[in-house]
């Protein structure tokens, strides 16, 4: 379900580079200013320009969220006044229950990512450790299925859930459980291949040793393999969480009542109703919604990068 492309960066290379950086800095004698500008200075200029380009919308939304004037125009002077008025208004609006959306999003995101990780790990274990007819075909079909994102079939999903709702109202349209179920349909397609690669890096001799000691396949999987592949589980979980919380097409087709919305749909409706007057309150909502994701991303950045590199090595 992940809509964010992975980041295969080379972590050891970064490590090497930062060592090289330190050594280079120690070795370099002080440069003349002219040469410094030609070789290093312009890099700072480019870096600064890009940083401004990258961050000014984020700075703006933070400033708007703290601005008590309550209109889009009033937000144009950055950090003119600071108050938490918009946050209070956001959380006290009963017609648009932001707190509910937040909880819904977290529930959908957490349950989907945990279950995705688990289902993917089960499948990857079978593909990596067992030999059976249809294994190669199975792996190839998963690669193929992965090419077609679920959102292309949004119409069919909508109609399917409508039908499912006739049998199990709790799983039909406008149900978070139903939405999670739909997301889990994409669990194998997107992630199994990545996990499969990582599982293969765990030596099979570990399994063999455990088996000689009398462990069954389930014990080997739950108590040994799952621990050894923890990094890739974290990566898949995080990517799946980010992808799920940003997903719009399927959730907006399925969910309707205000209490059941996720942040993506709720905030979209918030803004599209009256952009100019609601904007600062939306900005407060955006800041609150973004903080956990950005923090998690930056905190686990190294981990993600390391896990992905190892997993994608063929």
């Amino acid at each position: 379900m992940s809509t964010t492309p992975p980041i295969p960066t080379d972590a050891p290379a970064q490590q090497r580079a930062s060592d090289a950086e330190r050594i280079a800095r120690l070795r370099q004698p002080r440069m003349r200013p002219g040469r410094w500008i030609a070789e290093i200075g312009w890099r700072h200029v480019v870096g600064l320009a890009v940083v401004v380009f990258a961050t000014f919308p984020l700075v703006y939304v933070l400033s708007a969220s703290l601005n008590p004037t309550g209109t889009l125009t009033g937000s144009n002077v950055l950090f003119r006044e600071i108050s938490v008025e918009n946050y209070v208004e956001l959380l006290s609006d009963t017609r648009r229950p932001y707190a509910r959306w937040f909880v819904n999003t977290m529930v959908v995101g957490v349950v989907t990512s945990l279950a995705t990780v688990f289902l993917g790990a089960l499948a990857a274990y079978a593909f990596s450790r067992m030999r059976f007819t249809g294994r190669r075909v199975g792996l190839l079909s998963l690669l193929l299925v992965q090419m077609f994102p679920q959102l292309l079939a949004v119409v069919a999903i909508y109609l399917l859930m409508q039908g499912l709702g006739d049998v199990f109202p709790i799983l039909g349209l406008d149900s978070l459980a139903g939405l999670i179920l739909v997301y889990l349909g994409g669990a194998l397609g997107v992630n199994t291949y990545l996990m499969y690669g990582f599982f293969n890096t765990v030596p099979a001799s570990i399994d063999e040793a455990a088996k000689i000691d009398g462990a069954g396949h389930a014990r080997i999987f739950f108590t040994i393999i799952l621990r050894l592949v923890a990094p890739i589980l974290a990566v898949i979980g995080l990517l799946s969480f980010i992808g799920t919380t940003s997903e719009f097409v399927i959730s907006s087709a399925l969910l309707t009542s205000p209490d059941n919305l996720t942040l993506a749909i709720g905030l979209f409706r918030y803004v599209s109703e009256e952009t100019s007057t609601n904007y600062p309150v939306f900005a407060a909502g955006a800041v609150l919604a973004a903080i956990p994701v950005v923090a998690l991303f930056l905190y686990l950045q190294r981990y993600i990068v390391a896990g992905l590199t190892a997993g994608s090595v063929k």
Partner: protein, 526 residues
């Protein structure tokens, strides 16, 4: 689907420990209970094909987990595969089926449902009909009427279930009027007020033959006889308007039509062959717009990827100098847009680019009124700009990684051979970099090809192209068009939307096939 494994591992033991066994049996019991419940409900609805599929899947699942020592890989694959089968494979096939139907607004249900709806929606009160005393009741299937007819006989029925006589023992009466019945809950006054409109639209047929008429109540106390002016004749498969005498026949396209060509709504769902695929050729304006949308989809994806890559690469090269102080600060700040949830970014930019009050016009351009999102051409530039903002940090990360993994010796060797900075980059580093980046560029292209969020949240595909019935906009991608045709317009047309989705399937399949070849070719280069 899975044979016992014979090669790699010896036959493994079963789930170890009694705890695991208990958990397994408990889970299976839950699954079976749900399945049995579903089968009962589905059987009641008469969906026999679905019943068969559910039963088959349940049996297979039980076999996989209960037959000892066999189907080991299937034990691990089944949960994911079942979900994958339903929500990824089945829905794609289902899309293909829908594309050949007229499924959509006005063509939602089966023919029988359509007939009873048509008859019910054209009822009118029979003048001088006697008043029936009623009590509004409810059971699991919905609202019903508990009727005491003028002769004092009591019967009960709902919209789906015609009136049925009740014996005195099953009814509780009060002043000659039945007020409660077994198996039904009487609504309180408060509930009646709350559900007034539901009650007013409730029509309870007298018998299975809908021509006999319905009981309808406006005040939840007295009901009157309503009959429809449409009458269905099963033998000739026609609907006759008893007032005007017009005979409506099944026109073969999922609706009853009069000799003058007037269609009765709702119709029902039928297979229409290639009609949805032929539609762009029939309606020239829509066809042209569709070609425009397709070209723009390709252009949007290609330009977004290209510009993000160039910017990301330039930044990676710039910052990839070990002597540069504060590299990590630049790096973290530059990837912030990538860490920020993408749906929020689009909405943030929506505010920034607002024509009248937005930051860009008011502050950066000193009060200009550039129609960033409402002019056909400028809107295209804007969405690409925003998408580059979102996409370049990823390219920056990827390029940095790739640059740093190129061994230093390569550069040194080139320098020895007399190459200078730019030549080293263009002739040595760039080709090496492209080998590892190309597959990512292709997958990024495929991602942007269906980048629904950014387009829909910024412009909803607008500004709208004039002169077409459908709501097609200048910045619409194929995927946003699918969504709008299916959900956003007044006349939801699932058939046409699915046909458009199939066009995307085909394009994505071609791109994937090419990308597989391309990656192979690039690997050979190395």
């Amino acid at each position: 689907m899975a044979a016992p494994d014979t090669t790699g591992l010896r036959r493994p033991r079963r789930l170890s420990g009694s705890l695991g066994l208990l958990a397994k049996i408990a889970l299976l019991a839950v699954v079976d209970a749900i399945a049995v419940f579903a089968i009962m409900l589905l059987a009641a609805q008469g969906s026999w094909i679905v019943v068969a599929v559910v039963a088959l899947v349940t049996v297979v699942v039980n076999a996989v987990y209960l037959v000892p020592g066999r189907f080991l890989p299937a034990k691990y694959l089944t949960p994911g595969l079942v979900l994958l089968g339903i929500f990824q494979v089945f829905v794609v096939l289902f899309s293909c089926y829908i594309a050949f139907t007229n499924y959509g607004f006005g063509h939602n249900s089966t023919k029988d449902d359509a007939i009873s709806q048509l008859i019910q929606q054209s009822t009118s009160r029979v003048e001088d009909s006697p008043a029936y005393r009623v009590t509004v009741v409810e059971n699991l299937s919905g609202l019903g009427l508990l009727v005491t007819d003028p002769d004092g006989d009591v019967s009960v029925g709902s919209a789906e279930q015609p009136l049925q006589r009740l014996d005195e023992g099953q009814v509780e009466t009060e002043a000659g009027v039945a007020v409660a019945a077994d198996g039904w809950t009487t609504l309180t006054t408060g509930q009646i007020v709350q559900r007034q409109s539901d009650i007013a639209s409730l029509q309870v047929p007298f018998s299975d033959d809908l021509d006999d008429g319905f009981l309808v109540t406006a005040d939840a106390r007295n009901a009157y006889v309503f009959v429809s002016n449409l009458s269905y004749d099963e033998a000739t498969d026609t609907l006759t308007d008893t007032d005007t005498g017009v005979v409506y026949v099944d026109g073969g396209e999922g609706a009853f039509v009069s000799p003058d060509g007037e269609e009765l709504r709702p119709g029902w769902q039928v297979l229409v062959g290639f009609e949805n695929f032929a539609y762009p050729f029939q309606s020239q304006a829509f066809g042209q717009a569709l070609i425009g949308v397709t070209i723009w989809t390709f252009a949007f994806a290609a330009i977004s990827v290209g510009l993000s890559f160039l910017l990301g690469l330039a930044l990676a090269v710039t910052l990839n100098d070990p002597r540069l102080r504060g590299r990590n600060v630049y790096r973290v700040l530059a990837i912030l847009p990538y860490a920020f949830p993408s749906f929020l970014s689009a909405l943030v930019w929506l505010g920034l680019l607002n024509t009248e009050f937005g930051f860009v016009n008011q502050v950066l351009l000193g009060g200009a009124a550039v129609p960033w999102l409402s002019d056909p051409i400028i809107a295209k530039i804007s969405v690409i700009l925003v998408n580059v903002w979102l996409g370049f940090p990823y390219m920056f990360l990827v390029c940095t990684g790739a640059l740093q993994s190129i061994p230093e010796e390569v550069t040194e060797a080139a320098t020895v051979d007399g190459a200078r900075g730019w030549a080293i980059f263009r002739l040595i580093k760039l080709p090496l970099l492209l080998v590892s980046i190309a597959p990512l560029l292709i997958s990024s292209f495929a991602f942007n090809f269906n980048n629904f969020n950014i387009i829909y949240m910024l412009t909803r595909g607008g500004p709208r192209i004039g002169g077409i019935d459908e709501n097609v906009g200048h910045t619409d991608l194929l995927i946003t068009l699918v969504y709008k045709v299916a959900f956003a317009g007044q006349g939801a047309d699932y058939g046409l939307a699915s046909a458009l989705a199939i066009i995307i399937f085909v394009i994505v399949a071609v791109i994937s096939a090419i990308s597989f070849r391309q990656t192979k070719a690039l690997e050979d280069l190395n």
